[in-house]
Amino acid sequence: MGEIKHVLGIFATYLGQYFKTRLAYRTDFFGELVSNLINELINLVFIVVVFQHVPLLNDWTRDEIIFIYGFFLIPYALFSMFFGFWDFNERYIIRGEMDRVLTRPLHNLAQVCLESIAPDRIFGVITGLIIMGYAAIQLDLSFTWYDPFLFVGLVVSGMLIYGGVYTAIAAISFFSDSRTGISPMIWNIQQYGRYPVDVYNKVIRFVLTYVLPFAFVGVYPAAYFLRKETWYAYAAFTPVVGIVFFSIGLVVWNWGVRKYSGAGS
């Protein structure tokens, strides 16, 4: 219990530090907000433009796709809030800040996460809710009393999936002493899973379900709320996948840290 209180205390302190830092550069703060918003809307533009030319995408309507996208934005925003170390390679390995992290009495991944926490990404959750809400109204969806709880559980699982995969990818830096180009990789992989997986061929569908299970971040859980019963089984599996992949990420990370301590320079 004391341990949890300690961690929460540190979390609050880091959060405070973050806001103090950000307020020091107000123009950039708003620049970031706008850039995130643009980034979120651009994909919406893609969907809207495409559906001006076609009525259906593999039997999915425009509003269904928009709903999936809105849902996807929420775990993604939470993920980028808590796993904001997109410059991990540059900052911690090349500039050597990992050494400092290792001389502190707190799990090193927790420190890295806390040091790069990005609470402004919470706005992504709001954007997602608005987009989802709009689509839900258009689709005339109805919800039960327990749906909000399921929603929270599925969103957290989605965040854990991204977090696990990302942690594992970032851990590649431990094995290489030079630039790894990991941040563009994250930038690019984030988008899969926000379209129905049945548009892809078998191989990609397999990859998005079992290897890099991003389908569990967007389309599978969203399909539950869209009452697409074919996907219910997948939706139910989302929390399991979340826990499994986050554990994998953690294991790879710890392995990387051991390797880093073993080699180094």
């Binding site: 300690h6 205390g9 540190i10 302190t13 880091y14 530090q17 103090k20 830092t21 020091a24 550069y25 500039r95 050597g96 800040e97 050494d99 400092r100 290792l102 001389t103 502190r104 009495p105 707190l106 799990h107 002493d177 051991r258 301590s261 073993g262 080699a263 180094g264 320079s265």
Partner: protein, 336 residues
Amino acid sequence: MIQVNHLQKEFRIHQARAGLGGAFRDLFSREYKTVKAVDDLSFSVEEGEMFALIGENGAGKSTTIKMLTGILNPSGGEIVINGFVPQKQREDYVRSIGVVFGQRSQLWWDLSPLESFRLLKSVYKVEEHEGQRWLDRLIEELDIGSFVSQPVRKLSLGQRMRCEVAAALIHKPRLLFLDEPTVGLDVLVKQKIREFLRNLNDTEHMTILLTTHDVTDIEALCKRVLVMDKGKLIFDGLLENLKEKWGNGTEVAFQFKKRTSAEELRTVLGELPCEIIRENDFALRVKVSRSQEMLPFVLSTVMASFDISDVKIMEASTEDIVRNIYSTDSEVVSHG
């Protein structure tokens, strides 16, 4: 307090091939060379000691510090500090140590040092009341009170460095590591930091280890010196003994009232093992190896036999000695 036995560390270093073709081949297969960065290092340190680890670039100092602080795992041998094995019990171990990396900041760049201190306090679970008293003392003794609430990016290097030291000590560690703490600082700041460290060592009995290039640091702070060269420990002992072992001995410069040649002086000194160097017709220098009896003998004999207008005794400085150590071994080119 610190026990190091037969410590080893080997690295595999990627050997880049030359030229464009070579770089292209490196994409697919690489050549490695194994380098022993630390080779069979053993020493022990008592609680409350203050000692320096010196050596040229690439001698293995940083690697050693990194192993002692638990950042790197040794490839052989063992380390026990404060009863912990650093690489096995890292999180518990690091609570008992403080580390200052001279080249790297642990302070939040955009915020004031005070904010960083607050954060570190919660990371180390520092007890509120006691911790505040200790921090107040650090702020006072390091004389950082006047700028501790300014953003770090606005501080000068000297100001920042003093804040770094405070940050490393926030949890009152029993052992403090300082890796090149005074690089690039001006004399006054250096002095302030040294004074502070000495005081800390006196009053808190804190064990302090520093690596440095700056010989004046060692002279001001440490009785004990460890010298590393190419991964090996080549000297471990008191600063005085270092002078005895590597110093060029003592030189006595005589200024004569009359013209005196080296031969005349030699006849007076007889068989004494010493070197006589002529500076000009009126000045000669006698170089004797460092030993208690020889110096008085030379002085009394020469003073008795000649008319002397001036005598200067010149002892080799630590800086000369260190240069001496490095140069004696530099036939084998070190990797660095």
